[in-house]
Amino acid sequence: MNSGVGKAPLFDQLVRYLVSDYLVPVAALMVLLGLWFAGNSAAERLRIQIGVFVALVAMGFSGLAVFIITALYSRPRPFLVHDVELLFYRPTDASFPSNPVAVTFAIAVGVWFINRRLGLALMALVAAYAFARVYSGVHYPLDVAASMAIGAVVALAVLWAERLVRPILKAAIRLARLFCVA
């Protein structure tokens, strides 16, 4: 995938923006922030806010899962092994799995449970982000594919576990309602 670098400078520039550590993760967080205020009834608002909580916790646990995997298995970055045209800085951590892709995909799956269309749009954006990470030479395709799977599995696990702590969550949201922020 990286062999296309240099053939279309405009596309390469677009990828440089997309592959950044900041653009897609912040976009995913802004979707969650906007969703927090959406909802046309108290019940719908509660459902959405629990969904936002699930997405945020899934984000945290995906990062933890990536941390554990990289501690057990360290795959060198493509630019250390192959002749690669880099469009990004040289990360010093392991290639497998991709932390930013895993956490943003976990958020996207969380959003999908709140709003299908928005979730799919965010998944498409994360897929483009994953492509950009491979195209720019910092990951192998398997790294980002596995990261998406990790994000999805963790989000599903958090969604299942949420039922166990729902009374505490509801109490927290009710406390926030007292201050008109939930």
Partner: protein, 146 residues
Amino acid sequence: MSEFIFEYYVFVLLAALGAIQLGAVAGKLKGLLVLRHPAAAVALGVVFIAAAPVWFYSTGERNINDYEGGITANGQALYAFLGCITALVSTLAVTSLINFRMGRGALPPFDGLHSLREASYVVALSGNLTYWSKAWRKLTSNYFFG
């Protein structure tokens, strides 16, 4: 705080101001709107969300490693949180001033964000706290565990 971190914080702050406006329109929370007309509020939100990355990426090189002046993953999460909190507090303060006359009648207590459909934040909050202070003993058990 380094210049890069400050710029990242401003980037998140601007985007969050826009996201809150779009969310408020979706939730019909008139008390949170900076501009009264929903279409104008959507336009304002879109402008903020679009301006944030344009400004951030046009003012310097952003693909920088952590140890060369970039931000670590934990730092990103922290400053993103601070940016979102700042945006929320700013929105609540500004819209409380702009929409001060909204909802100065009887509001149902403990309606949360829903009360911002009819009232400004400061009016809704003071209504809640007044009600709470009068009946907190009875309400505590019913409200949280009832």
